[in-house]
């Protein structure tokens, strides 16, 4: 075997590139040949020195922040607002979704998602801000053709932030806004309709739909699907009588 071929083979062994049979043959040669053993030891020693002194470096925080921002699902509100309100919506994604929203098949869902995005983007997710359902309920009832139950879900980890009126198909619809961790969850109450139940997503938002004897409900959030399901379960528990 030429020197060069021998060196390449030693290098492949070092780099873990030999298959089992060739590795075995190499190890047998290694045991037989002091020259080969010395060569291999030199290669190993060099690797150790390189890895000891040229290790990975941590990316600077500002770089990490800039790169993460490129794909953020949820840039936060300005600080002052963040304390008061749930943060967590990607502005870029929301804008993209806003324009894409009109093209979807279900105009009701598209309008509700647009309402969610608009509310979150504006930094004013609610028209009436109150954690007291006795404040929110009459406010919505005065502005929409049917009232909302506005259940209190604070003990389930979803405090009420307030309510707003969304416009769907040119009609006012009462929408409750809750907070789940640092995300907004909105629940709109619609006249009961047979179509559309279960989970879906639109523009990256999780949507869950269900109905009871009188109404259909649509919950929208950028929270994880599992957590939205937990929210819906708590909401349904609280509103079933």
């Amino acid at each position: 075997m030429t020197d060069e071929a021998s060196l390449k083979r030693a290098q492949m062994a070092l780099d873990g590139e030999l298959d089992a049979a060739n590795q075995l043959a190499f190890e047998e040669d290694l045991a037989r040949s002091p020259e080969l053993a010395a060569e291999y030891a030199r290669l190993s020693a060099l690797r150790q020195r390189l890895r000891a002194h040229a290790s990975r470096e941590a990316a600077p925080e500002r770089l990490r922040a800039r790169v993460a921002a490129l794909a953020a699902p949820a840039p936060s509100y300005p600080r002052a607002r963040a304390a008061a309100m749930a943060a967590g919506l990607a502005l870029a994604a929301a804008l993209a979704g806003y324009w894409a929203g009109g093209a979807t098949k279900d105009p009701t869902l598209a309008e509700l998602v647009a309402g969610y995005q608009r509310a979150a983007l504006s930094g004013q997710p609610v028209d009436v801000a109150s954690s007291d359902r006795h404040t929110v309920k009459p406010w919505l009832a005065a502005r929409a053709p049917f009232g909302s139950l506005a259940p209190d879900l604070a003990k389930d980890g979803f405090p009420l932030l307030g309510g707003r009126i969304d416009i769907v198909d040119r009609r006012p619809v009462p929408t409750l806004v809750y907070r789940g961790r640092e995300h907004l969850i909105s629940v709109s109450e619609l006249p009961r309709s047979e179509d559309g139940g279960g989970e879906t997503t639109l523009d990256g938002y999780h949507i869950e739909r269900w109905r009871d004897r009188e109404r259909s409900y649509v919950a929208i959030s950028d929270i994880e699907a599992g957590e939205l399901a937990a929210f819906v379960a708590a909401f349904r528990r609280a509103t079933s009588s």
């Binding site: 780099d15 030199r42 060099l46 990975r56 470096e57 600077p60 800039r66 993460a68 794909a71």
Partner: protein, 169 residues
């Protein structure tokens, strides 16, 4: 504007390997501030590519993008700093400049300077192997070179480093 799917892939693929990307960019450009620009540029390219791609080997794929962004950056910033493959034999024949490595007393500094003094095709191959720990196939794909070339570059890089660094102190 990026879709949510691309962003999700980006968060899974790119963000966990940001340190690797920064390290590679710094070795290829020789400068921390340049490395930040390179990684950011690479990230923008990666996000755009992820609209249509789900890479099979995400980390190697991402590092290949960083490597290409670094080459573009270095070529634009310092046209003379880049050794093209055609020039490689010439440069290697002259031998790497051992001076910088010799004057450094600190072992770590010597090792780093020795790597930095390698011509860029040898340096990138060595860094992808020893620091980023890619395998030959991944390096071949990232550097757009045949496997045989990867192996000979590695051998030459290691030979040059061994000569520069000599025995361990």
């Amino acid at each position: 504007m990026s879709g949510e799917t691309a962003k999700r892939r980006f968060r899974d693929i790119v963000l966990p390997h940001l340190d690797d990307a920064y390290t590679l960019a710094k070795w290829l450009s020789g400068d921390g501030a340049d490395a930040e620009d390179i990684v950011q540029e690479a990230a923008i390219r990666a996000l755009a590519a992820l609209e249509a791609t789900t890479p099979l080997k995400p980390r190697a794929w991402w590092l290949a993008i960083v490597r290409n962004a670094a080459l573009t950056f270095v070529a634009r910033r310092r046209p003379n700093a880049l050794a093209f493959v055609d020039d490689l034999d010439e440069i290697a024949a002259e031998g790497p400049d051992p001076e910088a490595a010799l004057i450094a007393r600190d072992e770590g500094e010597r090792v780093r300077r020795a790597i930095a003094s390698l011509p860029s095709p040898l340096r990138e191959t060595l860094v992808l192997r020893e620091i980023e720990e890619l395998d030959y196939r991944e390096i071949a794909a990232a550097t757009e070179a045949p496997i045989g070339t990867v192996m000979s570059r590695l051998a030459r890089a290691r030979g040059a480093l061994a000569r520069m660094l000599g025995k361990s102190p």
